[in-house]
Symmetry: C2
Subunit: 231 residues, 2 copies
């Protein structure tokens, strides 16, 4: 069988330091910031000339942390509670024959002073993700009004997010370094990142954002952030 | 440098038998029909279970005819008349570091009787194109209202398309086999597939659709189809 070798053109730095709690699609956490650093020989101002005219870009990336696990014919999407099997090509699951992900992100800034660094908003990418392609988003071709979302329309309700007094104090202390941290935590937890089969309502979770460990649990009123501490 | 080997998961059969005159983005020729045949071991009904719930799909494919030509840091988009250089990552050009294309197509039908054949409308893919991934289009994540198109907004005017009496007769003879042929030719020529540097207004062009050779030229009233003959 023919195989096509793909090379890494750049690496993502992201606020998301682990797979758990990353929003399941791009755009759901506009406060999430990421930077794509292009690698040689692609890191010349030439390769991105004119890209600043676009508001959004497509990123094609490698699911590098799960790629070694290979592919599965069917997977259980979290949107369906994790208990219904759907064909892998009917999902955006990481367990694909070719472990390629596709995300659109808002183009915030392109820095070509010293190599090429592209600042992005709303990307759902793990820190360290290898990028294999970058393309402009073309509204006239890519934005399809009224496309049906299938089962993915299910369960789009979001969780209210609350912070403990302790967490509020910590947020204020971190304000200088991470001004969007409150919005980011709120956007991420509102998606309810708990696994579909979660059945212990009191379980405490930790999630890594930047160099921080955010501890939270769910109660009857929504998600509740208890503490925000250095990881 | 790390490379990621990608395998072909399926092959496209398309009405477009050569690169010339293929619409430059998907969706511009809704009458264009294509079929994706999945290859073993991916051609089981399991891998596409639930895909029928979606109206559109993403296809990731290999620019197999131009891949050997390698990449260029800058290219000259036809949208800019072919005389202005833009960074390759600011375009959808085929001359990319990794020769991956991205297209959205309308999902018409999924046939799992004997292997898996997926019928698509509006795909801008060359016959024989290797596919490396298939994903559902998710409107809530992928359809970005008001995204700016940069230089790609330029030159979106379309050409009027006329047919000679001879071509009209041939279209009627081909009606049974290719009922959408008239629409397809009209959609394709309306995009003005002439190269940006075309300067001879009387030049006659041929284009291959299905097993047909369509001959046309441009005059002051638009595109004019002279004959439609077996290739």
């Amino acid at each position: 069988m023919t195989t096509w070798p793909m090379q890494t053109i750049g690496i993502i730095e992201s606020c998301f330091k682990e797979k758990f709690a990353i929003p399941r699609q791009p755009g759901l956490s506009p406060s999430a910031e990421a930077t794509l650093t292009l690698l040689p020989p692609f890191n010349t101002p030439d390769t991105v000339r004119g890209l600043e005219q676009f508001s959004h870009v497509w990123l094609m990336f490698i699911f590098h942390e799960t790629a070694v696990q290979g592919w599965r014919a069917t997977v259980r999407p979290p949107k369906l509670g994790g208990n219904q099997r759907i064909g892998v090509f009917a999902t955006r699951s990481t367990f694909r024959p070719n472990p390629i992900g596709l995300s659109v992100a808002k183009l915030a800034d392109i820095d070509t002073e010293n190599g090429v660094r592209i600042h992005l908003h709303g990307a759902d990418l793990l820190d360290g993700t290898p990028i294999i392609d970058l393309k402009p988003y073309l509204g006239y071709a890519d934005a399809i009004a009224g496309a049906s979302n299938g089962y993915a329309d299910a369960g789009n309700s979001t969780l209210p997010v609350h912070f403990s007094n302790e967490a509020e104090v910590q947020l204020r202390q971190l304000q200088g370094r991470h001004p969007k941290l409150r919005s980011l935590i709120t956007e991420v937890l509102a998606q309810d990142p708990r696994p579909g089969y979660a059945d212990d309502p009191n379980r405490e979770y930790g999630m890594a954002l930047y160099q921080l460990n955010i501890k939270w649990h769910c109660d009857t009123t929504g998600a509740f952030v208890t503490t925000i501490e250095p990881a």
